[in-house]
Symmetry: C2
Subunit: 882 residues, 2 copies
C-alpha cells in the first residue's frame, strides 16, 4: 500500500481523472497542463479518503511522507516555506469529490499563518492590516471548520469589537483592532476546546486534511448524497494550493464567470468580480460585485487575458465553463474550472451554437441537453427570485409541471362557474375522479391531498399540460364546507394560492409567473434528435386538442386514447347512466345508441388531428360505479333525472360497489358481461374511420382491449370486434386497415403472453397498473407508506415515476420474449406514465420496444431520451437486453 | 383411411381400449374374452365419430363396408339375419364414450323390426302381444331418438288408446290394441317428418348410427362435458348388440347390481331385478324391483351363476363392479360392467378389504379413494333423500363443506347472544369481516351474498370446519332491518334455513342432517397413505383448538397462523384501537404492552398443541382500518370507549380509509411504518417459546413476514426481529432455534425471489393473494364477472379454488427456481386455500415443494392427494417440473 500514489502534484493528473482526483483537482491539473496560470499545489486522492475510512479513520502508511515530499516540491516551486520567518508559504485546503457537492465543507484559506509567520507577512507585504486580517480570518475558519468551535463565538467577538470601536463594518477595524481580535479568537479556541491554537503549519495541514476526510460522512453530506443519488463510495479528494490574494489593493481582485450565458445560452461571457477582495467577500454580499464587462475598463490587461483563457478553455473542454479567478497585484490566477450548469434554453442554444462553431459534433450536441430539463421550457414557471421570499404552506408530489395561480375552489362545478365568470381558479380536492374532468380542464391547476404520481389527478393533469400538486398529505380538505386546513391555517373558498408543479410546493397568495418560451434553436435541435432516435414516440391523448398539441411536439401517433372521459360530458353521462340502470339488454342498447353519434364525432376529430398516423383507442376501462353518484343527495337528484326511484338507484349503486375496484369489474370484463358497450364503441370507431376514408383522409385505427389476463378474453372480444368492423367495411366498400391488440397491465397477461400474442396484433404495456399489481401498491393508497419506503432506503425511487426495472421490468421482459416467440410481427409499446420518463425510455430502447407513448407535453422529453439511448448504444455505453 | 379399423367385434378389444371403444364397448369385449355370456355384437370406434365431424358429418370411406362385414359375422354367429322372415336379427344400438355421460342419448332397442319381421317374431316366439309391443316400443324410441319426432306425440297416442280401451296401464293393452298403435305411430312419423317409417333394417342401422354420432354434440352433451370437465375431443363409440329379452315370461327378467355395497363398502352384492321386464320397466317405476337376495329363491340357477360372475369380474377387474344383466327364458346374459361409483366410506372399506383379500396392492388401494371424496366423511351432510324433496331458494358457492340448520341472524352479536340462549343460528351477511369472528364461531353455518371461494367468510369457515355458502348473489341482505330477500321471498330474523356447504344450496326451513362417521378402516387407510407421501402436510390454524383438530387429522405442523384474529377478542380490541389512535410512539407502545401477555398466551397454547412440530406465525397482516368502525353510530360509541372525541376518531377513520385496501397499507408495510407492532409480536412469540423450552417442551417457531415484494423490506424487518429474539434468548440462556421467512404473495416477490431468498429462510406461497394480484381479480368483487367467465368458457375453473398452473403457477415456478438458486436450503411451502385442493397439491409435488398447508379439515385430503402424486410419479403418470 505504501507504493500507492496518494498525492498528485498539479499537472500530474488530467481532466479525465475526476474519479481519483475529484472534479476540482482534476481540472486544476488539466489547466496547469495546458499552460494556464494556476497557483501550484497538490491533490490527495479520493482513494485515500476511502482508505481512511477502511482503516477506521486512520491514515494509510506512506501518506504523510508523500504529502511532505509534495509540500517540499511546492515550497521549492514557490520559493517559500511553511513556518518560514521571511517567506512563509500559505495554502488553501479544499475538499472536492468527483461530483460537485456544494456546501459540504467550507474552504480553509491562509493555512500556514501563526504568531510568527504573520510578522513575516507584515514585513513582506508592508501591509500590517492585511496580515492581521488574514490571520484573524484563518483562525475563524480553521476554528470553525477544523476544530469545530461554534462560529457564533467568533462572530460575537467580532461584533463586540466593532461595537467597542464604534464602527459599523469590518473594513473600518484597524490593524491594532484586528491584532486584539486574534488574541481573543485564540482565547475562544482555548476556552472551547481546551487546547491552544496550533502554531505549526504542518500540524495545521494534518488537522485540515482529517477535517476534510471527516466531512465526507457528516450528516449534511450524507443527506445531500441521498437526495441526489450520489454513491457514498466516491470519497473526497483534498486540494492543497498556494494562496494568492485578491485583497492586496486595487490591482487585486476576485471573480466568477461563465464562458457563455447560463440562462439564455448567448455566446457572451457572464460573470462578476470585486476589486481588493477575497472570494468570501463576494459571497458575503457587503459590496455589490460588478459585471465582467467593467473589468475591461478597470483592468484591461487582465480582461484580455481572461477572454483568451475563456477561448482556450472552451476549445479545450468543448463546453461552456464555470470558472473562478483571482488577480493579485496585476497577475491573473485561475482557481477553478468546471462544466457550467445552465437552463434548458441555454443548454439547447449552447449545443446548437457549438455544433455550428465546429466545437462539437451533432451526437455530442444532442447528449448535452438532459431530457428532463425540457420540462422547463414547455411550462410556465414561478419567478425564481420571488419564490425565495414566498411562504411554502405545504409540499406534495410534483405531479405535473408548471405554475398556477388562482382562487381556491373545491368542486368541479364551482371551477367551471368561476372560470366562466372570468376568475382564475385552482381546484382543491382530497382526490379527483373522472366526474371532475370538466372542472380540471377549466382550472389553472389542481391540488390534491391524496394520491401518487399516477393518481387520477396527476395523469389527467399531465395529459392536459396543466400544473398539478398531488398527494399533499398534510392538507385536510373539507369539500362539503368549502375549506382546507394545513399546519394550523385555514384556507377558505376564493382565497388565492399558488402551485409549483415542478417541485410540489404550495404557496399562500398570488405569485408572479414566467411564461415558457421556445427558443429559436429548439426546433432545429429536436430535428437533430430525431435523426438519432430508433424508438417511436407516440402520445396519450383523449381529445383532438391534445392530439394536435402532441403532434406539434413531434408525436408519431397516439398510443392511448382513453374513451371513458368522453362519457362524462353532460350530453352523454345521462344516456350512459340510463344504460347502466337499464333492466335488459334492449334498453341498454337503446341508451347506448344515443351516445354513438357523439362518440363517433370524438373519433373523427382525433383521427383528423392524427391523419396518416396510427391511433390506438382503448375500449371503456373503468368500473361502472365510477359513472354513478355515491352520496345520497346526488343519488336522489340523478334518480329523478333517470326517472327511477331513489331506492332503485341506491340499490344499483350498492350492488356495483367494489371493495377493490382496481381489481374489479372493469376493462375487458365489462364487454364480457355487457357486449353492447363494445359493439357501440367498435361501431363508433369504424364508422368514423370509414367516413374519413371516404373523404380521402388516411386513418389507422388500433383497437385496444384493456385489463386482459387470459387468452380467451381476447379471443372472444376480438371475434366480436372483427365481425362488426368487417361487416361495416364491407357494407361501405372501402379499404380500411385496422388492428386489434391488448393493453398489457395484468401480471398474468405477461406470464401467458405467448398465448395472448397469438390473437393480439400489438401489446401496449400499461405500466401504471402493472406496477400497482406487481408491487401490490394501490396508487391511491400507497401515499401512506411510500414516503417511508423512500426515506428508509427500501426503494430508491417511486416506481410509479420511474419503471422498476428489477421487478416490473423483469415481468415485461418475460412478456416481450414470450409474445414475440409466437408472433414475430407483434408491435410492442408502453403507454403508462413511464413512457415519458427518460430512464424508462432508455430501458424501452434497450428492450427493443417499437414505441413509447406519453402525455403531449412529455413528447419532446421522450424523443430526446430515445435519441440519448440510441447514441449511448452506438458508443457502447449501454447494450440491448437479451 | 380405408384400411383403418372402424369396427371391432366384441372380443376383438380389451378393457384397456376404453378410449377407442368407449367404456361400454371395451368392457363388453373384455367380458366376451373372459368367457362371460355376452350377447354378441360390435363396436364402432370413437375415432370414427371424430372423423365423422372432421369430414363435415360424413362417413369415412370404408366404414359401411366394415359395418356390413361385422354385421354378417354377427348374423352368422346368431344364425339370424336382418330383415329375415324366419329368424330376424334384432339389435340394440347404444352410444358409449370413454367417460360415462348418463342421459346423453337414449338407447334404441329392437332395431330390425319392421312390418314383416314383426310377423316372423310372432311366429318364432308364439307371443303376438310381445311382438307387437316390441315393434311399438321400437317405433317410439327410434322415432324420438333417431328421427326427432316429439315424444309427446307418441305418448299422447298411447294415452288415447288406453282411454279408448278403458284400461289404466300399458300391460292391459292387447296384441290387437298394440297393432293398432303401431299403425298410429307410423302415421305420426309420416305426419311429423313427411317420410314413412324406415322398413329396411340396414337403413335403420345407418340412421341410428348417425343419430348417435350427432348426439355427441347436442346441447345437453356439450353442457354435461363442460360441467364435468370432459374433453370434447373424446367422441362416442356406437355399440350394436344382438337383443335379448327379459320380458319373455316369468323365466325372463332384468336387473342391475353392485358387487359390493356402494354406500358402506360391505363385501356383499347389492342390487335389484324385475321378472318379465325390460330395462326401461325398471326405470319407469311402475313395478317395484326386488333385491338381489330374492333371486336366490326365484331363479336359484341364475342367482348362483350371477354370484360366480361377480367373483370372476372382481378377480378380473380387481375392483367393485356395477353391472347390468338380463335373463331370457332361463339363460343369463351380461349387458354391461363398469367400475362402481361409491361413497367415500365405501371406497375406503373396499380398498382396505381388497388389499387384505390379496386382490390389489397397497399402492392401488390408496389410489382407489379420490382425495376430494374424503370431505364426505369429515362433515355433517344433509340426508340425501330429504334433500330431493326440499326447495332450494338460492345457490351460492360451496365455500366450506358440511350442512347447517339454524335460525337466521344478521349480526355477529346476535349470533353470540342467541347461541348463548341455546338456539342454533345461521349468520347471514352481505359479506363478513374480521369483526364477525366470534359470531361465526358460534353460528352453525354462514351464508353471504358476496365474495368468492377465498372470501373472508369462506376462508375462516373452512378453518373452523364450519359449513359456509358464500357469494349467493341472488340474495339481498338488509342487515340494518334484519331480513334478506331472494327471488321475491322475504326471510326475517329467526326464521329457519338450511345450508348445504358441499353444493352451495340454501333451503327454506329445517332439514334432517346426517352426522359424519369415520369408518374403522379410515385410520388404517390414512396410515398407508403416509407411507407413499413425499410432500409435507401442515395446517392453517389460528387457535390451539384448530391446531389440535388438525394434528389429529395428521398435520405435521402449522404452515400459517394468522395473528389478526387474536386482536379481535373483546379484551384486546380496545387496547389495539388505543394503539391505532395514539398520537405518538410511546403511547402506541404502551397500548401494545397491554396486549403482549394475551398474545403470548395464544402462542403458548398453539406451541403446546404442536409440540415438536414447526409453527409458522404470520405477523399482523390486515390494514389498520379493519380494526376501526366505519358507521358514524359505532364511531361515536367507540370514541367514547377510547376517551377521544367523535371528530378525532372520525378523522382517523377517514385518514385510514383506502380505495384498494388489498394493495394498501398492510402486511410488512405496517411494521415498516409502525415498528412497535412487530416488536410486540416478536416478543410474544419468542417469550412464549422460551417459557415452554424451559419446561422441556420442544418448540419450533417460524416467523413469517407478509406481503413482501422488496428485498430491503425483509432485510430491515428481519434485522429487527433477530435483534429482539436473540437478546431474549441470550438473556434467558436457553437453546431455541427459530426461522425468519416470508409469505410470497406479491408478484414482485416472485420476480425478485433470488434477492429475497438471500434473507428469507423459507418461502410460503400465499396463493390467495398471489392469484388476486396475478389475475387482477379482487376476491371480494370477482363474483360480479367470474360466473360469466366460467359459463362462457373463458376460464375452466375458479382460480381461487384450483391453482391456475399456466399463469400463477408459472410465476411460482420462477420464484422457486430463483429462490433456490441463491439459497439452496430454502424451504418452500404453500399456505393459500390451494394447499387443500388435490390438483394443486399434485402440482406442488411436481414442483418439489417441501410442504402444503391447508385448513384442518382438509389435512386428510391433502395427505391423500400428496400420496397419489407420489405414486403417480413412481408409475410415470406424472413428472417433476423442471
Amino acid at each position: 500500500m505504501a507504493d500507492k500514489q496518494f498525492v498528485y502534484f498539479f499537472g500530474e493528473g488530467t481532466k479525465d481523472m475526476k474519479k481519483l482526483l475529484g472534479g476540482k483537482g482534476a481540472n486544476l491539473s488539466e489547466m496547469t497542463n495546458i499552460g494556464l496560470p494556476v497557483p501550484p499545489g497538490f491533490t490527495i486522492t479520493t482513494e485515500t479518503c476511502n482508505l481512511f475510512y477502511e482503516l477506521g479513520k486512520k491514515w494509510p502508511e506512506g501518506l504523510w511522507e508523500q504529502v511532505l515530499s509534495n509540500l517540499a516540491k511546492l515550497e521549492n516551486k514557490m520559493g517559500m516555506k511553511f513556518n518560514d520567518l521571511v517567506n512563509p508559504l500559505l495554502v488553501s485546503v479544499r475538499s472536492g469529490s468527483a461530483v460537485s457537492m456544494p456546501g459540504m465543507m467550507d474552504t480553509v484559506l491562509n493555512l500556514g499563518l501563526n504568531d510568527k509567520t504573520v510578522q513575516a507577512l507584515i514585513k513582506k507585504t508592508g501591509n500590517e492590516r492585511f496580515a492581521w486580517d488574514a490571520y484573524r480570518r484563518f483562525i475563524q475558519m480553521f476554528g470553525d471548520v477544523v476544530m469545530e468551535v461554534k462560529h457564533e463565538k467568533f462572530e460575537h467577538a467580532l461584533t463586540s469589537m466593532k461595537k467597542k470601536k464604534g464602527v459599523k463594518v469590518d473594513t473600518e477595524l484597524t490593524a491594532a483592532d484586528l491584532k486584539e481580535l486574534v488574541d481573543e479568537y485564540k482565547k475562544i479556541v482555548m476556552d472551547e476546546k481546551g487546547v491552544s491554537f496550533p502554531q505549526d503549519a504542518k500540524e495545521q495541514l494534518k488537522m485540515a486534511m482529517n477535517a476534510v476526510f471527516d466531512s465526507w460522512n457528516n450528516n449534511r453530506a450524507i443527506s445531500y448524497r441521498n437526495l441526489y443519488d450520489i454513491p457514498h463510495s466516491l470519497g473526497t479528494a483534498v486540494n492543497v494550493q498556494s494562496m494568492v490574494f485578491g485583497n492586496m489593493g486595487n490591482d487585486s481582485g476576485t471573480g466568477v464567470a461563465f464562458t457563455r450565458n447560463p440562462s439564455t445560452g448567448e455566446n457572451k461571457q457572464d460573470g462578476e468580480y470585486l476589486l481588493n477582495a477575497q472570494g468570501e467577500d463576494v459571497v458575503a454580499g457587503i459590496r455589490t460585485p460588478l459585471t465582467i464587462d467593467n473589468l475591461k475598463k478597470d483592468m484591461p490587461k487582465i480582461y484580455d487575458q481572461l477572454m483568451d483563457i475563456f477561448k482556450t478553455l472552451e476549445n479545450h473542454y468543448k463546453d461552456m465553463q464555470d470558472i473562478e479567478f483571482t488577480f493579485q497585484e496585476g497577475t491573473l490566477y485561475m482557481l477553478q474550472t468546471r462544466t457550467g450548469k445552465r437552463t434548458a434554453a441555454s443548454a439547447i442554444r449552447v449545443a446548437v451554437d457549438m455544433f455550428k462553431e465546429g466545437l462539437i459534433d451533432k451526437k455530442t450536441a444532442v447528449l448535452r441537453v438532459e431530457p428532463d430539463q425540457l420540462d422547463q421550457i414547455l411550462h410556465k414557471r414561478l419567478d425564481p427570485k420571488e419564490k425565495e421570499k414566498a411562504k411554502v404552506i405545504a409540499k406534495g408530489l410534483p405531479a405535473s409541471p408548471g405554475a398556477a395561480v388562482g382562487k381556491v375552489v373545491f368542486h368541479a362545478a364551482d371551477a367551471v362557474k368561476e372560470a366562466k365568470d372570468g376568475f382564475k381558479v385552482i381546484l382543491v380536492r382530497t382526490e379527483t375522479s373522472p366526474e371532475d374532468i370538466e372542472g380540471m380542464a377549466t382550472a389553472q391547476g389542481i391540488l390534491t391531498a391524496r394520491g401518487g404520481m399516477t393518481s387520477h389527478a396527476a395523469v389527467v393533469a399531465r395529459g392536459m399540460g396543466k400544473c398539478c400538486v398531488a398527494g399533499a398529505e398534510a392538507i385536510k380538505v373539507f369539500e362539503k364546507s368549502d375549506y382546507f386546513t394545513v399546519g394550523g391555517i385555514r384556507i377558505n373558498k376564493d382565497e388565492w394560492i399558488t402551485l409549483d408543479g415542478g417541485t410540489g410546493e404550495v404557496f399562500l397568495g398570488q405569485m408572479p409567473v414566467v411564461d415558457p418560451e421556445l427558443s429559436g434553436s429548439f426546433g432545429e435541435f429536436m430535428e437533430w434528435v430525431d435523426t438519432f432516435r430508433k424508438l417511436g414516440v407516440r402520445t396519450n391523448a383523449d381529445t383532438p386538442k391534445d392530439a394536435e398539441v402532441a403532434r406539434n411536439f413531434g408525436a408519431e401517433g397516439i398510443g392511448l386514447t382513453r374513451t371513458e372521459h368522453m362519457f362524462f360530458e353532460a350530453s352523454r353521462i345521462k344516456a350512459f347512466r340510463k344504460m347502466i340502470v337499464a333492466k335488459d339488454e334492449e334498453s341498454r342498447r337503446e341508451a347506448l345508441m344515443t351516445i354513438l353519434p357523439f362518440q363517433k364525432q370524438d373519433f373523427i376529430g382525433i383521427f383528423k388531428a392524427m391523419e396518416g398516423l396510427p391511433v390506438t383507442i382503448r375500449l371503456l376501462d373503468p368500473p361502472l360505479h365510477e359513472f354513478l353518484p355515491s352520496e345520497d343527495k346526488d343519488i336522489a337528484e340523478i334518480a329523478k333525472e333517470l326517472d327511477i326511484t331513489f331506492e332503485e338507484l341506491k340499490s344499483i349503486v350498492v350492488s356495483l360497489h367494489e371493495i377493490n375496484p382496481m381489481m374489479g369489474h372493469r376493462g375487458c370484463r365489462l364487454p364480457i358481461t355487457h357486449p353492447e358497450i363494445l359493439e357501440m364503441q367498435t361501431r363508433a370507431i369504424i364508422e368514423a374511420a370509414i367516413e374519413l376514408t371516404k373523404k380521402g383522409v388516411v386513418v389507422k385505427p388500433e383497437i385496444m382491449i384493456p385489463v386482459v389476463g387470459i387468452l380467451n378474453e381476447v379471443k372472444l372480444l376480438k371475434k366480436q370486434i372483427v365481425q362488426i368492423a368487417d361487416a361495416l367495411i364491407k357494407k361501405n366498400n372501402v379499404k380500411l386497415d385496422y388492428k386489434v391488440g391488448t393493453m398489457i397491465e395484468v401480471p398474468r397477461a405477461c406470464l401467458t403472453a405467448d398465448e395472448i400474442a397469438t390473437e393480439a396484433e400489438f401489446f401496449s404495456f400499461g405500466t401504471n397498473d402493472l406496477t400497482q399489481l406487481t408491487f401490490a401498491f394501490s396508487r391511491d393508497d400507497s401515499g401512506k407508506f411510500l414516503p417511508d419506503y423512500i426515506k428508509k432506503g427500501i426503494l430508491e425511487k417511486d416506481p410509479f415515476a420511474t419503471l422498476d426495472q428489477v421487478g416490473v421490468g423483469e415481468l415485461i421482459k418475460i412478456a416481450v420474449a414470450k409474445g414475440r416467440a409466437t408472433n414475430k410481427d407483434l408491435k410492442v409499446g408502453i403507454c403508462g406514465e413511464h413512457g415519458g420518463d427518460p430512464a424508462s425510455v432508455e430501458w424501452c430502447h434497450k428492450n427493443s420496444f417499437n414505441y413509447v407513448s406519453c402525455s403531449p407535453y412529455r413528447v419532446p422529453i421522450a424523443r430526446l431520451a430515445a435519441a440519448h439511448a440510441a447514441i449511448k448504444e452506438k458508443t457502447g455505453e449501454i447494450f440491448r437486453d437479451k
